[in-house]
């Protein structure tokens, strides 16, 4: 992929951010942050979770009011009181989550994001024209709930483009895309910058930022800790600027693989929810000591795969065999007793009960294997000791095991959830998105724990949308695409193109007509 847009650099400053400060009770989210965004540039905003990136963009988009500091747009004071005002000044935003309405159709979703939408029929026609012009074809009358993740993102982008934005804010836009879809998105963005639109680009994928962005501002704990030109800075240097310390890379000890412990054959399962994905004829074999990475774009059957393996949804008895014994019809606790443990993606509400203490949460999955109850009576002392063991061994930062799961930060709760399963010495461990929304040092610790577990002879399945993570921990790789699992291939030697094709290619998208 080349850099066709580099010569179109427009140099006028579009947005000046000067000394923006926003404090919440107990935490300063932004501390006198200042930087400039030029017209026609792609400006990256880097930082770990909690560094204050989202607060900053919410202030630019008028969702949050700064405590102090000013913004200038084209030299004039810019202080949007609400998103409407920001949109009127030419600021548009593509959200990472929460901004589409599943039950409404594409045109209705787009109309909701516009100030003065034209009548539906005209709007539908404009959606067709603009979406084809930018290589993101969309049918205005399809229900959004039926669209793939990539198509849903197109809806958001088109919604922004229809307002002729001067500044487009994108929050983690590529986390839901296949590599091919990312290429298409980047072509679209380059076409936009060539027209003079500035893009504020938030991502933690540093290689992408090096490829796409003209400038970068790095936030750490709410402060601007530096700027750099991404193309001239290594990904590792940028990561260390974000974290503030040197990064530990997880190391695999490379244990030899043992016998097949988990054998899935012909696993099919209808979708358990209205907008879910059905699993279709999934086959895989997992050997002791193996780490299998399952990639794929969100919503292609990852959650359903976990439900089928955990026992929350029963399938044919013979579809899942654990050490030769059919377990497909067994409930979660019976599977735990046999050594098949799982850690789902949603930390609050699925992996942990938010308002219960860590001790109680330790009991919820640890009861069977750790013998935390007897004849229906709970052994609180033993349970608390188990919770304290998890907290100590996995460096969970919390005042103690009596604290509610809800009170922990994402990374700490994730360490607790993973640690709780690891310490039960599973035969097979299945984790879904183990480091989603977790800061870099906690993510490294979790990946190391997975590798250590595998070195001890446990078979591990890591389901993740973070390809870098899978490349780092997995021995073998397979991808889920519309509920089907590809063949398993060794991670070593796989190219990013091959992975992209395994994930389903570009889902029928076409590249933007860059010369149009």
């Amino acid at each position: 992929m080349g850099h066709p847009g580099k010569e179109r650099r427009v140099t006028g400053t579009l947005l000046t951010i000067d000394g923006l400060t926003k404090a919440y009770p107990g935490v300063v989210a932004n501390d006198t942050v200042s930087f400039e965004i030029k017209a026609g540039e792609v400006h990256a905003l880097l930082g770990e979770n909690g560094a204050g990136k989202s607060t900053l963009v919410k202030m630019i988009y008028g969702l949050v009011k700064p405590d102090s500091g000013t913004m200038l747009m084209n030299g004039e004071v810019f202080a949007p009181a609400e998103p409407r005002a920001a949109r009127a000044s030419g600021v548009a935003m593509v959200f990472q989550h929460f901004s589409l309405f599943d039950a409404l159709d594409v045109a209705e979703n787009i109309a909701l994001g516009m100030e003065n939408p034209p009548p539906m029929r005209d709007l539908a026609a404009r959606i067709r024209t603009v979406s084809e012009e930018y290589g993101l074809p969309l049918d205005p009358f399809r229900t959004v709930g039926d669209l793939s993740a990539g198509e849903r993102q197109r809806v958001e982008i088109i919604r922004c483009l229809l307002q002729d934005p001067k500044l487009l804010i994108m929050d983690e836009p590529t986390s839901v895309l296949t590599p091919q879809e990312v290429d298409i998105l980047f072509e679209t963005l380059r076409k936009l910058t060539a027209e003079g639109v500035a893009i504020l680009y938030i991502s933690h994928k540093l290689e992408e930022i090096r490829m796409l962005c003209d400038a970068a501002t790095i936030l750490r704990l709410g402060k601007n800790v530096g700027t750099c030109v991404p193309a001239e800075t290594s990904a590792r240097d940028m990561a260390e600027l974000m974290v503030g310390t040197e990064l530990q890379t997880p190391k695999s000890t490379g244990a030899t693989l043992g016998d097949v412990v988990l054998d899935i054959s012909g696993l099919s399962m209808p979708s358990p929810s209205a907008f879910g994905t059905a699993l279709k004829n999934v086959h895989l074999r997992l050997r002791a000591g193996e780490v299998l990475g399952i990639g794929g774009v969100a919503g292609n059957g990852q959650d359903e795969m976990l439900l089928a393996l955990s026992g929350e949804v029963r399938v044919d008895a013979d579809a899942i065999k654990l050490k030769g014994a059919p377990v497909g019809k067994l409930a979660p606790n019976a599977r735990r007793a046999l050594g098949l443990l799982t850690a789902p993606e949603e930390r609050l509400g699925h992996a942990a009960a938010p308002d219960m203490s860590l001790t109680e949460n330790a009991l919820l999955t640890g009861n069977v294997r750790k013998g935390l109850s007897q004849r229906g009576f709970l052994k609180w002392a033993k349970t608390q000791a188990f919770a304290e063991e998890i907290i100590e061994k996995f460096d969970v930062r919390t005042p103690g095991p009596d604290n509610a799961a809800r009170s922990l930060s994402g990374g700490n709760l994730q360490k607790f959830v993973i640690g709780r399963e690891v310490l039960q010495e599973p035969e097979v461990l299945v984790v879904n998105q183990p480091t989603w929304g977790v800061d870099a040092s906690a993510a490294a610790a979790i990946r190391q724990a997975i590798l250590d577990l595998a070195a001890g002879g446990t078979a591990v399945i890591v389901i993740s949308q973070d390809l870098d993570e899978l490349m780092e921990v997995a021995d073998n790789f397979a991808a889920l695409n519309e509920g089907r699992l590809t063949e398993t291939r060794p991670t070593k030697g796989l190219t990013i193109d091959e992975i992209g094709l395994m994930m389903g290619g570009a889902h029928g998208m076409e590249v933007a007509h860059a010369d149009a």
């Binding site: 008028g62 998103p83 409407r84 929460f98 589409l100 309405f101 599943d102 039950a103 109309a111 909701l112």
Partner: protein, 306 residues
């Protein structure tokens, strides 16, 4: 048994009358639920509307003012629910049940001096020529204005939800309040307004019972109509015209079974009395088997985290 005593024209005419209270209360609750709020206090708001309207009519002598005050009374009571659930972020189910109990008690207290009184009758909208048409005149064109208002409300709610921006925003808020908030829509304000609309409709429906259908005041006289209206909304899959259909079905079978009882049909009275409930629910369950589903944010508490 003498089935010939049943006059089909009068039967159909009284069907429209019997259906009106639950129709108006139901269409109000439909708007509330499409905005993502589950208000189980319909019964309480109806009975409050019934007594407010009754009192205002007795005092002023004007049924029109009576209906106005019924709507205001229902809306005022619903504002209490709005405060609890939208500002204090209380649980909607518990708040709604409390609202029903509160409304029943409040109306009993207010209505103590009004038992046994007879309100001035509401004039029928005698449309010249049209109401003289045989059969159709009796069925369609010989009613009080509230019957037509109910049908007009259904049409208006349907059109607003489907064709206007206000309707789109309301549906968006009910579908995903976080997204609506992120786009800059005032979730709480929209919901409070929807709740008050629902309260006003419930009040009107209640007053229709105390001023026209019965017409007098007795404690607890709505007798579960609010719950029927709630069930109607769910089984109608949150679609306005289906609420109309369900209300007519329920009202029709209610008057039919009364007529059958009077005619001395040899079916046990108990079975006849329960038939409107059973048949309405069965029909609507069959109809709601299509893909339609509840607004995704229904009953969830919205808290704008910044």
């Amino acid at each position: 048994m003498d089935l010939s005593a049943i006059n089909p024209a009068l039967l159909l005419a009284s069907l429209l009358v019997a259906a009106t209270p639950i129709l108006i209360a139901g269409i109000g609750e439909l708007v509330v639920e499409r905005a993502g709020v589950l208000n189980l206090g319909v019964e309480g708001m109806m009975i409050t509307g019934a007594i407010c309207g009754f009192m205002a009519t007795i005092i002023t002598g004007s049924p029109a003012l009576g209906f106005l005050f019924a709507a205001l009374g229902g809306a005022a009571l619903s504002l209490l629910f709005a405060l609890l659930t939208q500002v204090a972020l209380a649980n909607q189910v518990a708040s709604g049940l409390a609202l029903t109990l509160f409304g029943l008690g409040l109306s009993a207290l207010l209505g103590q001096g009004y038992v046994g009184l007879k309100p001035p009758s509401t004039p029928k909208l005698d449309i010249p020529l049209l109401s003289d048409i045989p059969f159709f005149g009796t069925v369609l064109f010989n009613h009080d204005i509230i019957v037509y208002l109910g049908i007009a409300l259904v049409a208006a709610v349907w059109a607003v939800l489907k064709f206007t921006r206000v309707g789109l925003v309301l549906r968006a808020v009910g579908e995903n309040h976080d997204a609506a908030h992120a786009l800059g829509y005032k979730v709480v304000r929209i919901r409070v307004l929807a709740i008050m609309f629902g309260g006003a409709c419930a009040g009107l429906g209640g007053a229709y019972i105390s001023l026209i259908r019965v017409p007098q005041w007795t404690e607890g006289m709505t007798a579960g109509a609010g719950w029927i209206a709630l069930a109607l909304v769910v089984f109608a899959s949150w679609k306005p015209w289906r609420v109309l259909l369900g209300a007519w079905l329920f009202g029709g079978i209610t008057v039919l079974q009364l007529n059958l009882q009077a005619a001395g049909v040899s079916i046990p009275v108990e079975i006849l009395s329960m038939s409107p409930y059973i048949i309405t629910i069965v029909v609507l369950v069959i109809m709601s088997a299509d893909k339609s589903r509840a607004p995704a944010s229904l009953g969830r508490i919205f808290h704008a985290s910044s």
